[in-house]
Symmetry: C2
Subunit: 221 residues, 2 copies
């Protein structure tokens, strides 16, 4: 029995990010008799105890004073709020080393993301099977996204190909793009975008060292 | 002549992240006669014009009303604040597909990050050359980090190997870790950490779609 948060109430992006971290902590840390304390979650995620309690309170009345949280119940509540209490149908475009690394990463499926098709512009790659999927030509991207009812796209194409492919995906009705190409994509507001620019991550690290920010952030911000 | 910001004045992590984005915009967008308007930067980065002007004002008096910013001068000022107006010596541990993709990504070098050595625990990989570097055994990690004076480490090892390797790096005096293993690392405060958990990025995307947050964020947060 998990409480869904009332409609309209908005969760901030920062809170959503912390909830993702709490989910990791709940998954990897052994809970005593299925229970987990806010202190232990805070410790694992590098945030304050008060912050954890505040964030989790926004999910509904899950904690019991002195008893902590029921780990499975809490995980379910977080997954519901994040929208991963379901399977998201995804496609991947650009099957290079990064894509092969991502496809091998079991974290995706366990978190509710299923990659249904792979695409690449290089004709010599078409037909090759990677992690059980045959690479298809990028020309078929639009039709396939529609046929598969894919909602998410993972973009691991070279920088110069990213915007045209993103435009194709937008035309096909994709709802979200996870972009690894080091470019600033322009997409209509209805298509959500999360970009992972690896140089930016390194710059953030340099900044942290340079400015000696005390709190070490356990995950990409 | 760029203004360095006064000592002590602290830049927030969020601001630093936006500055990284502005740097991308400055690099990829053709500036008219070397000048760039805050409006154009805002457009490219998906933030408001006012936000750009506020962030850039904190770097010193770079903009001229009606004339916009001198692109090279602005880039230099941002790089100085982020601490990438120098070369960061880095090592990489765990030479799988992700590592190969990262090593091929020229963005690192151009942004001032130089990978000096590669390490892997798999003896069959030791000696193999990747992007001009020979893979070394992980046993030599501590000594080599000291000898090379490496400050940053890119961690692309499997989840279960991440903490032990991070501890080795900490012992070797590394200053920062860019972690791609899907685990919450525990490091002393003096070692800065930026983690890129790909499942978390997908969860953030699912959250954005689910909650229809209006502003599409152009880069990982």
């Amino acid at each position: 029995m998990r409480d869904r948060r009332p409609e309209g109430e908005r969760l901030s992006r920062a809170t959503a990010h912390r909830l993702s971290l709490y989910l990791r902590a709940l998954a990897v840390w052994p809970a005593d008799g299925g229970r987990m304390s806010s202190t232990r979650i805070a410790l694992a995620c590098g945030v304050t105890d008060a912050q954890v309690r505040r964030d989790l309170a926004s999910l509904g009345h899950l904690g019991r004073r002195g008893l902590g949280y029921d780990a499975p119940e809490l995980s379910a509540a977080i997954r519901a709020v994040l929208g991963i209490d379901r399977v998201w149908r995804a496609v991947l475009v650009g099957v290079g080393n990064l894509a092969r690394a991502l496809l091998r990463y079991r974290g995706f499926r366990t978190q509710g993301f299923e990659v249904l098709a792979l695409f690449d512009a290089d004709p010599t790659k078409v037909g090759e099977r990677v992690e059980g999927l045959a690479i298809e030509p990028t020309e078929r991207l639009t039709d396939r996204v529609r046929d598969l009812g894919a909602e998410l796209a993972i973009l691991t194409v070279p920088a110069d190909a990213a915007q045209p492919v993103a435009d194709q995906l937008t035309a096909a009705g994709i709802r979200g793009v996870l972009n690894f190409a080091p470019v600033l994509l322009r997409l209509p507001p209805r298509v959500k975008l999360v970009s992972v620019d690896l140089a930016i991550q390194l710059e953030q690290l340099a900044f942290l060292i340079q400015h000696g920010e005390p709190a070490a952030d356990p995950a990409a911000r």
